[in-house]
């Protein structure tokens, strides 16, 4: 996550000083921007489609990139897998300028992909898609017993939870001891 934040933050402050705010928007009928995920595959997306994402929309409205600048500086999202980003881009293109339907049935059925998609959509702040995804995640456990829910959502039992907590405390204690020893060594 930190690499993406660095990537976007390094791109963001560089441009506003050179380009006026959204200068290209009224002249060009449709401007395009470029994004890439962890796999570095660049996706071309129109500004209209990107409006679904509050995060990207906020960035591009302040940047005012020209077509060449946009092509040269794709937005890096290192914390999002390539296939998940592809899914998000496809959804944004599909629903560009359209009112969003009350339900979306094209969401992935596998839980790992769905969880990845939820995290990506939440990061990109795509409100409508996040609502669908949350509904889809919620549907997974409807009518299921506690044991089934635990299995589906990969929830640890209280015993597992406590064991992990103890182990984490031990590890934290060891790390703290190591740090104090190192600090004492430095002082000497």
């Amino acid at each position: 996550m930190s690499s993406t934040e660095q990537g976007t933050s390094s791109a963001a402050p560089a441009e506003p000083t050179t380009a006026p705010e959204s200068a290209a928007a009224p002249e060009v009928p449709e401007s395009f921007y470029y994004v890439h995920g962890k796999d570095k595959v660049v996706h071309k997306v129109s500004a209209g489609a990107l409006q679904h994402s509050a995060l990207i929309h906020g960035m591009i409205s302040n940047l005012g990139y020209t077509e060449e600048q946009a092509k040269a500086n794709p937005f890096p999202f290192e914390n999002i897998d390539g296939d998940i980003l592809q899914m998000v881009v496809d959804w944004c293109n599909q629903h560009k300028g359209k009112p969003t339907p009350p339900e979306d049935t094209n969401l992935p059925k596998q839980k790992e992909k769905l969880f990845d998609l939820v995290l990506a959509v939440n990061y990109l702040e795509i409100k409508e898609l996040l609502t669908y995804c949350c509904k889809q995640v919620a549907m997974m456990v409807k009518g299921k017993s506690p044991e089934e829910i635990r299995e589906i959502w990969m929830i640890p039992t209280d015993a597992e939870d406590e064991a992990a907590e103890k182990e984490a405390k031990k590890r934290a204690g060891k790390e703290a001891a190591g740090e104090t020893a190192a600090a004492a060594g430095d002082a000497k």
Binding site: L119, N122, T131, C134, V141, G143, I149, W153, A164, A168
Partner: protein
């Protein structure tokens, strides 16, 4: 991030595939809002972290009605969901907690979508078991209900009652085929007086617990209609203190053979929760205060044993309808 703030086990899963525990707090609340009432109850049973999180967030649910009815030796709870919004969970669930044959033993039966599930619980009085199940529901209910009913059955004249079978549950179908019903239901004879005193004790304890639970909420419990049937006037006020409602039906459960002072509900109009009351109906309890106290309530049905001349003039001026019964007890 969701639970990771409280549980450091998340450190181990940093490079693994994302789990539900990795979801950010806002996403998790949005998911829980869509899960539905019954799934939330099951989710609370999965682990301590989830239980704490649900009790903290209090997700929205489609619960609309709760009807609690305490009879002699058993308690029935009927919960109704919003059919329009959630067809999958639509309908009713009825849970019955019955007193078992042995002490501190309870038989629970649940009816949902016309299927009945019965099981025994051997470590608790039936009212305790009910509160164990329903305390979190009463504490976590955030949205306004349409109806809430807490009713206590009146005293009984009967000396006998049938006990639930303690053996393995027999299906309803097998019961219908069997002519010897007593094989499955044992009948006990206890003097009505003893049964009634037990019932009153259980009822008083239950109402105290309700008062405590609802009173410990940070936000008052909200319901459009409230229907109470209790023994004492203090029990009505105990509930009203912590419930916001637009309409109240308050009845008194009868205690035969008991010589008690007539209980009045004169303080009802002063209750904070009843300031915007649209409907008030009081039965059984007496009312002695002036009719002017009730002038703000659009629909009113109360029983008066006597009425002053002043009140009659006010009532006539306000175009109320007075129904006078033959018993010479005027009802307004």
């Amino acid at each position: 991030m969701f639970l990771s703030k409280w549980t450091p086990w998340n450190f181990f899963s940093k490079n693994e595939k994302p789990a539900i525990m990795d979801m950010p707090y806002l996403v998790m609340t949005q998911i829980l809002d869509n899960v539905g009432f019954l799934a939330i109850q099951n989710l609370r049973k999965t682990c301590k972290s989830f239980r704490n999180f649900i009790d903290d967030v209090k997700p929205n649910n489609e619960l609309k009605k709760i009807d609690i009815f305490l009879e002699h030796h058993r308690l029935t709870v009927k919960i109704t969901f919003d059919n329009d919004n959630n067809l999958e969970n639509g309908g009713e669930v009825t849970v019955m907690y019955k007193e078992g044959k042995e002490q501190n033993c309870c038989l629970i039966s649940k009816t949902y979508k016309s299927s009945v599930v019965e099981f025994n619980k051997t470590d608790g009085h039936f009212v305790d078991v009910f509160f164990h199940d329903f305390e979190p529901i009463l504490m976590n209910q955030r949205s306004k209900l349409t109806d809430m009913g807490i009713k206590i059955a009146s005293f009984s004249y009967q000396d006998i009652y049938s006990l639930s079978p303690q053996s393995k549950f027999q299906s309803i179908f097998s019961r219908c085929l069997c002519s010897r019903f007593q094989k499955f239901e044992s009948v006990l004879t206890i003097p009505a007086e003893k049964r009634n005193s037990q019932h009153r004790k259980v009822a008083n304890d239950m109402m105290n617990r309700f008062g405590q639970i609802l009173g410990s909420r940070t936000v008052p419990f909200e319901t459009k209609n409230l229907d109470l049937k209790v023994f004492k006037q203090s029990q009505i006020f105990g509930i009203l203190r912590s419930i916001k409602t637009n309409s109240l039906v308050g009845n008194q459960a009868f205690q035969f053979f008991e010589e008690e002072d007539t209980q009045t509900l004169d303080a009802i109009p002063k209750c904070e929760t009843l300031k915007n009351m649209e409907y008030l109906r009081i039965g059984g309890f007496g009312m002695t205060n002036s009719i002017t106290d009730f002038m703000d309530i659009p629909e009113l049905c109360i029983k008066r044993e006597n009425i002053s001349r002043n009140d009659i003039t006010i009532v006539k001026q306000s175009r109320f309808v007075i129904i006078t019964k033959k018993t010479n007890y005027p009802t307004i």
